[in-house]
Chain length 457, copies 2
């Protein structure tokens, strides 16, 4: 029979077990932190009705959508009835609108699932990737205080993920629009265009943005362009510095005053939430490309790896689900694109050593002693120690090699000598040494070793 | 603007948060048990190349497959290039063949992901559902001892899931075929047909199966049919009983002898793995419809709810990935269809009371005291207690109602009185009582309450 080549499509990140364990650990940490702050889990189907999924999106999203057809519907004309979700925000809107009367508001949900985009295949672009989202949704209204809670969750999460120093950067869309308005850019549409230009500041640089703003498309004066560039280059070094920078903008139209008041409240509360001032800052260039943000916007960057870009972004929106319900549902949310983050961290060598979920391998010296090996494994598992038993007979050296290659640190050996003495030998494959312990003390001794290993690495 | 009705397609199980929490707890328990036995996590992309996915499957599977097309490829003729996986076994075969040289054998993997089938919509049939699979894959060979390990994992998992008494039932395909052979049913194809008939015994009853076997299609004598029916009605009441039943079959052709030897070894080892004799049994009617099983086969049923059918099934196969690689990869595996199981348990009222992942709600009596409330929440979260703070101002009674509805048991109240005395009030919303505790003792006191609640319910 001719073989079919075993392969996956480009743009997916399929991992070998040790990498999958590292990925799973990150998912677990994120989930633990989301839950610690009182967010509730939601999972939605990966397949949605196309008309539900594509109500709001522009042409760009539609071109990237994966449509789904069962065999029976393949022959049908027109846009297929089903499609794969391309983010978790549209499914959230659909979920909240569908289950509105069964939910308590403010509705605080987290969702950690994969999303799909028919992207052109290129390095670092994924067609399937995990998003880890939290959102707080209000009914009719939602206090700005929640805008301060999300940075507290981000801080707690990334601290525990332990991937280096990071800064949560904040801005406010109203403040930006109000400031542009004070410079004579009065039209909302024009404000959005300027906002999108300044969003490119970090990527394209000051000169590029200045040239664009004073060029034909915008036709702004050199003076106005300079003021915009001064504005968007504001970065705070402390909370007091942030307050001072905001005050230094001077008085302005209502939008500016409202945006400033919101930012001040949010920044002050972030401190009250226990986030150190070293970990959050004002950054007036943050705009976020998406049109639906209306107030606070966030980006989070690794201090030592700015090239990775934002590792967690989000913001405040006025109305989550206007396409599905007449209820007004304002909210605020953030999203971690974990697949891309994991890929970048691994690429930059920041992931650290792979460690297996398997703590101990019980080796097999003598097949006749299998019941003893199984009983030992049972004791260890009851003590919460993840244990594999070698069931295939073979040389001990080969069994050690298997453990070492699989990232299992400890091997338990019981031969004639050990049986006679009522002990077992524990081999530490990383340190390359071994010790004997009474059979009854094994679980306790291994727990101590494993706790030390977890701390010391 | 006209609204789009918010809805999901039929055949998916979308849960409200409290049900999602219950579902997630089951997933966590299953994962913890899989890891405790030393299985390694694997996740594969939900989209596979169609030619990779559909190499082995017959027409039935192909009719149920969901094909995937990006917008650009919609116009193309012929079978679409991409499709959604319909199980986790084909992706495992592809994974092992693709990464063969990077894996250690025996390769022990678990995988807990959703799969997709374009089923006709009907009650209890799902188009999207979770499968929780473990498999052990050998290179060239794999000792039958692993066939005994999987029931040990099942036992440990279902005991912790705490959904009532269950029995892991075992049979062996070789034993069945050998027995049929001893009755003169020599052709392999004919053996398979008989095997599929007796698999219907529990659903259709003895009379139906006898009539079919003695009818035109099979044309077996009444005597042979009676022997087959006697055979498949064998159920053991203990390990000794199982051995006695197997011996009572008398000697027979090689396949029968081999199957009997395997079953005896497996049954004995299951006991050595620590599974009580009350929880596993011989059941010679278990055949499993799938053609690829060649030795041990398993089904697990709830003793008090036989109508639910098998909640965990699997078996031994000769060669996992012959369509992708010339390497011989024998294996043994089991699968829990968690979505269907959850749905059935909920339907039968066996799920128990919903409890939130949120342990404590810190209420807001006075907005001016928000920094105090946030500091308390911070202390609780640092102590590992999942805590939500009310940020929206409003009446206390409404806040209690929110907590109660959301399944949050404890509410923390700090008003003027408490502040003056340096205490906080803890309200137990389930028991309907409350107590005061010194602010510095709050986290400790709540941990005690939560531990009691976890034990007492």
């Amino acid at each position: 029979m001719a073989l079919t080549p075993a392969r996956t499509m480009p743009g997916v990140l399929e991992l070998l077990p040790l990498d999958q364990i590292a990925f799973q650990r990150m998912l677990d940490i994120i989930r633990r932190n989301f839950e610690r702050f009182g967010f509730l889990p939601v999972e939605t189907p990966v397949i949605e009705f196309s008309d539900v999924l594509l109500t709001k999106s522009g042409g760009e999203t539609e071109r990237q959508v994966y449509f789904v057809q069962s065999t029976g519907s393949l022959a049908k004309e027109g846009t297929p009835e089903l499609a794969l979700r391309f983010d978790l925000t549209v499914p959230l809107a659909r979920y909240v609108a569908e289950h509105e009367h069964d939910l308590s508001f403010p509705f605080r949900r987290y969702q950690m699932q994969r999303v799909y985009r028919g992207e052109r295949a290129q390095r670092g672009r994924f067609r399937e990737f995990y998003q880890c989202d939290i959102d707080v949704i209000g009914k009719d209204s939602l206090t700005t205080r929640y805008d301060a809670e999300l940075p507290a969750v981000i801080y707690s999460t990334f601290r525990e993920l332990d991937i280096g120093a990071f800064t949560i950067q904040l801005n406010n869309r109203k403040l930006m629009r109000g400031y542009f308005e004070s410079l004579g850019i009065a039209e909302s549409e024009q404000q959005m265009l300027v906002l999108r230009e300044v969003d490119k500041l970090d990527k394209r640089g000051v000169d590029y943005v200045r040239d664009t703003l004073t060029g034909e498309a915008f036709g702004l004066s050199a003076e106005v362009a300079a003021k915009i560039l001064d504005f968007v280059q504001v970065r705070s070094r402390s909370l007091d510095d942030a307050f001072a920078s905001l005050d230094a903008l001077g008085s302005g139209p209502e939008a500016l005053e409202q945006g400033r008041a919101e930012l001040k409240e949010v920044l002050g509360l972030i401190r009250d939430f226990g986030v150190p001032e070293t970990h959050f800052a004002l950054n007036l260039s943050i705009a976020r490309g998406l049109d639906y943000y209306t107030g606070t916007v966030y980006e989070t960057t690794l201090n030592d790896h700015p090239q990775i870009g934002s590792i967690c972004s989000g913001g405040r929106y006025e109305n989550l689900a206007s396409q599905y319900t007449r209820s007004r549902l304002p909210g605020v949310g953030i999203s971690i694109g974990l697949t891309r983050l994991f890929w970048q961290l691994r690429d930059a060598g920041l992931l650290g050593n792979a460690r297996s979920t398997v703590d101990v391998l019980v080796t097999q010296m003598d097949a006749a002693q299998l019941p003893t090996y199984l009983a030992i494994a049972n004791e260890l598992r009851s003590a919460g120690i993840a244990t594999e038993v070698v069931l295939e007979s073979g040389k001990l050296a080969k069994q050690f090699k298997y453990a070492d290659r699989a990232g299992i640190r400890f091997a338990v050996v019981v031969g004639e000598d050990e049986l006679a003495k009522g002990v077992v030998t524990v081999k530490d494959l990383r340190r390359g040494d071994q010790f004997e312990v009474a059979r009854g003390e094994l679980a306790k001794a291994l727990r101590v070793e494993l706790e030390q290993a977890a701390v010391m690495g």
